[in-house]
């Protein structure tokens, strides 16, 4: 995780206000507080994770992302972050809209279903792929939307969302050495910084 935290941290302006959707145990926000002196909140639905956030000194608010972000005003955060969450929510498109309503910029990461191993498993074996970034079986996966870099970029184009920066990572969350080389085939995790057009 550490390289990914560094990449995200590099994109964040010091002192920014940040909202982390699905903040888990608060590791990212704690890191950004220490490295970038950010303020803001994490939203999380799991009470055990909420306790961990509080122990880590991270402001965390119990919330169900599927209910939207109605408690938060337009442009009330500099960045809204969603790491490994977009593929696990039901109303993906609405949450993207909400993210860029509440935040001036959005930062998202998700597992790339276009990764070559995924393609091979489906094409040659005929099974739903199980890879390091998508370790679940089809019947117990929390991921309800699986998509590729191209799928995501097509959605951004259609919704007039600006892609400000893109990185492709491997399964250990390390940046790939030559990110422009077939990113949708070689990237295991996608990392985007988004803005409103």
């Amino acid at each position: 995780m550490r390289p990914e935290l560094d990449l995200i941290s590099d994109w964040i302006r010091p002192g920014a206000r940040v909202l982390d959707l699905g903040c888990g145990d608060g590791a990212l926000l704690a890191y950004l507080q220490a490295q970038r002196q950010v303020s803001g909140y994490g939203l999380e639905i799991d009470t055990a994770n909420i306790v961990k956030c509080i122990q880590a000194g991270v402001n965390v608010i119990h919330a169900d992302l599927e209910a939207g972000l109605a408690d938060f005003g337009d442009s009330s955060f500099d960045y809204v972050i969603m790491t490994q969450t977009l593929q696990a929510v039901k109303h993906t498109e609405r949450l993207l809209d909400e993210m860029l309503r509440v935040g001036r910029q959005g930062i998202v990461t998700f597992p790339n279903f276009g990764f070559w191993r995924c393609r091979m498993q489906i094409a040659l074996q005929g099974f739903m792929p199980v890879v390091k970034t998508l370790p679940y079986q089809w019947y117990d996966t929390p991921n309800v939307h699986l998509f590729t870099l191209r799928d995501f970029e097509e959605l951004c184009r259609r919704k007039r969302i600006d892609i400000l920066q893109r990185m492709v990572l491997d399964h250990a969350h390390r940046p790939r050495p030559r990110p422009e080389l077939w990113p949708n085939l070689l990237g295991e995790i996608a990392l985007y910084r988004l803005g409103r057009a």
Binding site: A34, Y41, T47, I54, Q55, G57, I61
Partner: protein, 399 residues
């Protein structure tokens, strides 16, 4: 007689009384020329006087929040003993904990049962109706008396949570952290309706005598008992009651009369009867009005966020899933206003089937939440150079 107490208990406690000779102007327009506040403290105030924590009690609570009293041979500890003590979530090795019986109470602080200095008779129904703001102002005087300028934390559940909120608005610079548990930003019409039925039960008791029942040597037992029974129903949840009592018949079969047949009836009657022996009806009436009147947004054009704009404290808000008296949605109103005001806040919704009463229960996730939060508060106030603005960790990283 020697006592042995559990190692994590604050042990034997003697309440203290602070007398205030200067008049206190109240929201109702009247004033108390002089008054007493009875209080308890646990732990030790540190040299900087920065580790004091105020516990605010709810409707039927009092200053005896932890430890044991010598009298009555009772082994019953204070009402939040499971949470306060050495090694407990509100750790008395770290904090100097203060709790007072609020004005209008019946456990030693000046209230309806006290003697009115003007006529040497008990105040009774003539005791002024005090507000949460009045309480906070009286507690601030107690803080002054104890040499506490800033509370490390003000903590309360239910009506106690309302006092914690009011503290951050009335005295923004005197509260570092507010822990608001199972509370609401103001009562709903339904909440007020329950209070009104409770009041009518007391007011219509023939032994009430317009509140002057002390003169007649009686107490409105039936009214106060019904009020408490009603209150108890709202403190429990449907699922909690079902689990605890079900539809169990005490004698296994119906008797076709109005005696106590179901276990839940027996429980409620017991709770009602026990309450009559320890609580005053005029205080009960008064505090239900205090609850009804609480509305910090009213001073700010009905904008709760505007009320919190002046607050400087950081907040922890906690609710319980099965609490329908002050449901999680009411806590979310508080959180939403704090977010809009740009305040620092964490919010945890604790799974529980204990209803409103859950805030008094040692639920592991709940106590972990309090402990996690207060551990950081303790570190903040018990580390030298409390007022340093820069975070020490940040500088260490840069070095």
């Amino acid at each position: 007689m020697p006592h042995t107490f559990p190692a994590d208990s604050v042990g034997l406690i003697t309440p203290q009384t602070a007398h205030f000779a200067e008049a206190l102007a109240l929201d109702c327009g009247r004033s108390l020329t002089e008054y007493d506040l009875v209080y308890e403290t646990y732990g030790t105030l540190n040299a900087e006087h920065s580790n004091a924590v105020l516990i605010c009690h709810a409707l039927s609570g009092d200053h005896h929040v932890a430890g044991y009293h010598e009298d009555a041979g009772t082994r019953k500890p204070g009402w939040w003993d499971n949470c306060i003590g050495p090694g407990k979530p509100i750790d008395t090795r770290e904090f100097f904990v203060v709790c007072c019986n609020n004005l209008g109470g019946c456990k030693g602080s000046t209230g309806p049962t006290s003697i009115n200095p003007d006529n040497r008779k008990p105040y009774g129904p003539d005791f002024p109706i005090v507000t949460v703001k009045d309480w906070v102002r009286s507690q601030a005087r107690l803080a002054d008396r104890l040499g506490i300028h800033t509370w490390a934390a003000v903590i309360g559940g239910s009506l106690g949570g309302m006092q914690a909120m009011q503290w951050t608005i009335t005295f923004p610079e005197r509260v570092r952290h507010a822990l608001v548990i199972a509370a609401a930003p103001r009562l709903s019409a339904q909440n007020i309706a329950f209070n009104e039925v409770a009041r009518q039960a007391i007011l219509s008791d023939p032994d009430f005598h317009h509140g002057h029942y002390y003169d007649f040597g009686v107490v409105p037992r039936r009214g106060l008992m019904i009020a408490r029974m009603l209150g108890h129903i709202t403190y429990l949840s449907d699922e909690g009651m079902r689990a605890k009592f079900g539809r169990e018949l005490r004698e296994g079969r119906p008797n076709f009369n109005f005696d106590t047949e179901f276990e839940v009836e027996s429980y409620l009657r017991h709770q009602g009867r026990a309450f009559v022996d320890r609580f005053d009806a005029n205080t009960y009436l008064l505090i239900t009005k205090t609850l009804d009147y609480f509305d910090p947004a009213a001073d700010f054009d009905q904008d709760l966020a505007a009320a919190f704009h002046r607050a400087q404290a950081r907040f922890l808000v906690v609710s319980f899933t099965s609490d329908w008296r002050f449901a999680p949605a009411r806590s979310r109103e508080i959180v939403q206003a704090l977010v809009r005001a740009g305040r620092e806040v964490s919010y945890a919704e604790i799974p529980s089937d204990s209803g409103h009463d859950a805030f008094l229960m040692p639920i592991p996730l709940y106590h972990d939440t309090l402990r996690g939060y207060l551990t950081r508060v303790a570190h903040e106030v018990n580390t030298p150079a409390v007022s340093a603005h820069a975070s020490p960790e940040g500088h260490a990283d840069a070095a």
